[in-house]
């Protein structure tokens, strides 16, 4: 049984699964239930200036019969009184001293407000602070949330204020609503932030109701841009996470990964690309805290199979394999192969290749089952047929190198090698 113990800047938790700052972490009753279920830690829902939330707060994107592929929210930070939150945080720490308690903060935009808030939070015994520089709605109009995270200079200034008062580790949470997360990440680290977390939600309109013609969520006939999260955003989060892991400045600090983590597989991927812990929200909003069992068990079983004893054995292990396009080997060539014994004759590979790729699949008419075979000379090895095939391992990609040696684009050009003639 692999060891899932996690140490994030000295903040210990029995596993790397933290609940992200969100509705599941906004009060004692939820957090205690989460800890009882086995969650390693929580990031308490953002505390800060007083707000009021609207009714009708979420909307979702469903896909092919599955609900909530992506979730959108227009909820603001905690709308409960600060002293109640602080009292409850203290109580949760007392009852579960072995779990990580991070508190998310978003103070008004002045040094004193930040200092005051940080001191109050530190008095609860919390283990760390997460700075909410990412909330994409509501707070930005007040110059907070993403308004801070989108401007590296402002982010730097606020982190400096925070570091003046902080005695516990500080994690800066980055917004994805920028062309690159790296500038704000660098500014935060240079200003002293001990760690980074990403991504916050992505600004979105999830859809328009085709009966009322009003976008959702519908708040009395109007809607507003919300923050998008859930499985749909995972690939975007992984990319942004990797850019942080590859940058010489931001890669120096630990990262807590966020963005569509629903299963242990997602978590393993985030960790392979540099996350020390992962934060989960949407999956819990859909299924409840009980998913923690499989998150831990699945990750542990996978680690056993791969021979990883602790999570540090694989954190960041995949980062070096993500390189620039120019460094990819042009002599590497694969072609698809269809296993006729596994083929169910659905024709999905054929029509995808025929209409959208390189017309590399031969169709032989049959009644009622057509036969499909790869024209190896035409196949560019794009993977599309394999991706759309509904049968596992029916289509495999077989390596057929064009040349024995590694050949990248720069070298290809230098040698004046010929381009495709069709």
């Amino acid at each position: 049984m692999a060891n899932l113990q996690t140490d994030f800047l000295g903040i210990k938790s029995p596993n790397p699964f933290w609940l992200a700052s969100a509705p599941p972490t906004d009060k004692q009753v939820n957090v205690l239930r989460a800890f009882e279920a086995g969650w390693g830690g929580v990031v308490w829902k953002t505390l800060g200036s007083q707000v009021k939330n609207v009714s009708s707060r979420y909307s979702a994107v469903d896909y092919h019969g599955s609900r909530v592929m992506g979730l959108n929210n227009i909820e603001l930070i905690s709308d409960r009184p600060l002293d109640i939150n602080l009292k409850e945080i203290k109580e949760c720490i007392r009852l579960f001293p072995d779990r990580a308690m991070i508190v998310s903060l978003m103070a008004d935009n002045d040094r004193n407000s930040w200092h005051e808030l940080i001191k109050k939070v530190q008095d609860t015994g919390a283990h760390g602070i997460e700075l909410n520089f990412g909330c994409p709605h509501g707070m930005t109009e007040r110059g907070m949330g993403a308004a801070v995270g989108q401007d590296p200079d402002i982010a730097k200034l606020v982190v400096e204020w925070v570091m003046e008062a902080a005695t516990i580790p500080v994690i800066t949470k980055l917004t994805p609503n920028v062309h690159s997360v790296v500038p704000t990440g660098r500014a935060s680290v240079e200003a002293g932030s001990n760690a980074l977390s990403l991504i916050n939600t992505i600004q979105s309109v999830t859809g328009v109701d085709l009966d009322t013609l009003i976008p959702n969520p519908n708040v009395g006939g109007k809607s507003t841009f919300g923050g998008y999260c859930g499985p749909a955003v995972k690939p975007i989060a992984l990319k942004m996470l990797t850019t942080i892991a590859q940058d010489p400045v931001t890669s120096k600090v630990p990262v807590s990964g966020i963005g569509g983590v629903s299963t242990w597989r997602d978590a393993a991927e985030f960790m392979l690309l540099g996350s020390t812990t992962v934060q989960v929200c949407t999956a819990v909003m859909k299924h409840g805290f009980r998913i923690i069992d499989d998150l831990c068990e699945g990750l542990s079983n996978w680690m056993d199979e791969k021979g990883f004893q602790t999570i540090t054995d694989f954190i960041g292990k995949s980062i070096p394999t993500l390189t620039h396009w120019e460094d990819l080997d042009l002599n590497y060539h694969i072609v698809a192969r269809i296993d006729p014994d596994k083929c169910i004759h659905c024709g999905l590979c054929y029509i995808a290749c025929e209409d959208a790729s390189h017309q590399s699949i031969r169709l032989t008419q049959g009644q009622p089952y057509n036969e499909y075979a790869i024209k190896e000379d035409e196949c560019v090895g794009c993977n599309l047929c394999k991706l759309v095939c509904p049968v596992d391992s029916c289509i495999t990609m077989v390596e057929q190198r064009v040349g024995p040696e590694y050949l990248n684009w720069k070298e290809f050009q230098r040698r004046g090698l010929p381009l495709n003639d069709h």
Binding site: H64, G65, I344, H345, C346, L348, Y350, P368, Y369, N370
Partner: protein
């Protein structure tokens, strides 16, 4: 003893309720619709005699375009609603579903097809536009699936259609010849009305070719004639005792169930059904459902040669019908003019006959069944004397799709000898295409 009124009202209702109930909600339909892989050049479509674009209509259920879905179905098969209830899908679309190759349950295509078509019929969606009238007139003999299918295509093309039907209702065997638990007479009436709602189609009921109307007269009055009168005469067993009281024709039996109401239909205590086709199953199961104590299906070949599908056979078994394979009726014995016993020959399989199936050979051994009713479902024969009298060239009563008479076309059971509803619908489409070519271009 043969008698009616064997059950109480609730029992009749339960026994004849819908065997394949529709999806109750859109969510329920979506569970299965979303499983569809949306195959390209799909095996299900290629296995449908009318070529319904199955993946397309299922995708349209998923996208919430139910009118489009119904249009996709009806464009290929105007009786797509009825077919979703009566088609032997296990040997057609569902039997070809690629999930079968994964050893998984196929997509319930018939049930999904029922979903948009039922809505379209109930809400009377007009999904087709009619071309400007061409001034052409076509007569159709028979308002069964083939005649109605041809009529709809012709009406869409702006042709004025008159259908001559010998019964008092349209729909043909769909209305008169299918088990009531598959499709109700009420649904058949609604479906007929829906087909006719395109306009330009008139049905003259109780008009029978060879009696009240004649081909020569139709040829004079119309630009073309489509013969879709099907087959009808029950194949005789040609054994002693066939004319005793209690020996009935399966189609007549089913007809009375559909037209007289369940309590009115008499059925025996112990019933033998001769044959193993769809009609034999429909008769056997319904005899049980009317209250017969024992029903035995008697078939001269084995399960490997039976014309019905395995699903149909299982239905008969779950209804408690007994199956006797390799048994051929030899003599029906009676007492006071009524059936008391069926003597059967024990058969064995010999070499393949012209149908490619191994033919049964009499072993010389016999056995007796105590029965008070014998239902004959050994197939139907074409109206040979009728076609002969009307001057049509034929082969054992079957006519060709393009008959020997100019401007006279034929299709459906009177050409193919008796196949599924869906085959008749396709024959009607093919005939309509040929007729349009004929009337518009000579």
């Amino acid at each position: 003893m043969i008698r009616n009124n064997r059950l109480v009202k609730e029992e009749y209702a339960a026994n004849f309720s819908d065997i394949h109930p529709p999806f109750e909600t859109r969510d329920a339909a979506l569970v299965d619709a979303n499983r569809c892989l949306y195959c390209y050049d799909a095996p299900c479509t290629k296995s449908c005699p009318t070529g319904i674009d199955v993946p397309k209509f299922i995708k349209q259920i998923v996208t919430g375009n139910l009118k489009g879905s119904a249009h996709t179905i009806f464009e290929s098969n105007i009786m797509g609603g009825g077919c979703s209830r009566v088609c032997p899908v296990e040997k057609l679309c569902e039997g070809a579903c690629v999930y079968n190759l994964m050893e998984e349950t196929p997509i319930p295509i018939a049930r999904l097809q029922r979903y948009p078509t039922e809505k379209a019929i109930a809400e009377k969606w007009q999904l087709f536009e009619k071309a400007v009238p061409t001034g052409k007139k076509v007569a159709i003999v028979g308002a069964g699936p083939s005649g109605l299918s041809a009529a709809h295509v012709l009406a869409r093309a702006g042709v004025k259609v008159t259908i001559f039907e010998k019964e008092a209702k349209g729909g043909g065997l769909m209305t008169y010849g299918v088990a009531a638990y598959k499709v109700t007479p009420e649904f058949c009436a609604e479906e007929l009305e829906y087909i006719l709602s395109i306009g330009g189609i008139t049905i003259q009921y109780e008009q029978e070719l060879g009696r009240t109307i004649h081909l020569t007269q139709l040829r004079q009055q119309y630009d073309a004639v489509y013969l879709a009168f099907g087959v009808g005469l029950a194949r005789r067993l040609d054994i002693p005792g066939e004319d005793l009281d209690g020996v009935v024709d399966a189609l007549k039996f089913i007809y009375s169930i559909r037209s007289d109401g369940y309590p009115a239909v008499p059925v025996g205590d112990k019933v033998a059904v001769i044959g193993m086709g769809m009609t034999a199953i429909d008769a056997a199961t319904q005899a049980r459902r009317l209250g017969a104590k024992e029903v035995t299906l008697v078939y001269r070949r084995t399960q490997a040669e039976m014309p019905c599908t395995e699903a149909e056979l299982n239905l008969a078994k779950t209804d408690g019908c007994r199956i006797l394979w390799l048994a051929a009726p030899k003599t029906i014995t009676g007492y006071n003019g009524s059936v008391t016993q069926l003597t059967c020959s024990e058969m064995e399989l010999g070499s393949p006959d012209h149908s490619g199936r191994r033919s049964p050979i009499d072993t010389g051994r016999t056995f007796e069944l105590e029965v008070d009713m014998v239902i004959k479902a050994a197939g139907q024969t074409p109206f040979e004397s009728l076609v002969e009298a009307e001057g049509l060239a034929h082969k054992n009563g079957r006519v060709a799709a393009q008959t020997n008479l100019p401007g006279v076309f034929a299709g459906g059971d009177n050409v193919n000898g008796g196949k599924e509803v869906v085959d008749a619908v396709q024959a009607g489409k093919d005939a309509a295409a040929a007729i349009l070519k004929f009337v518009n271009h000579g």
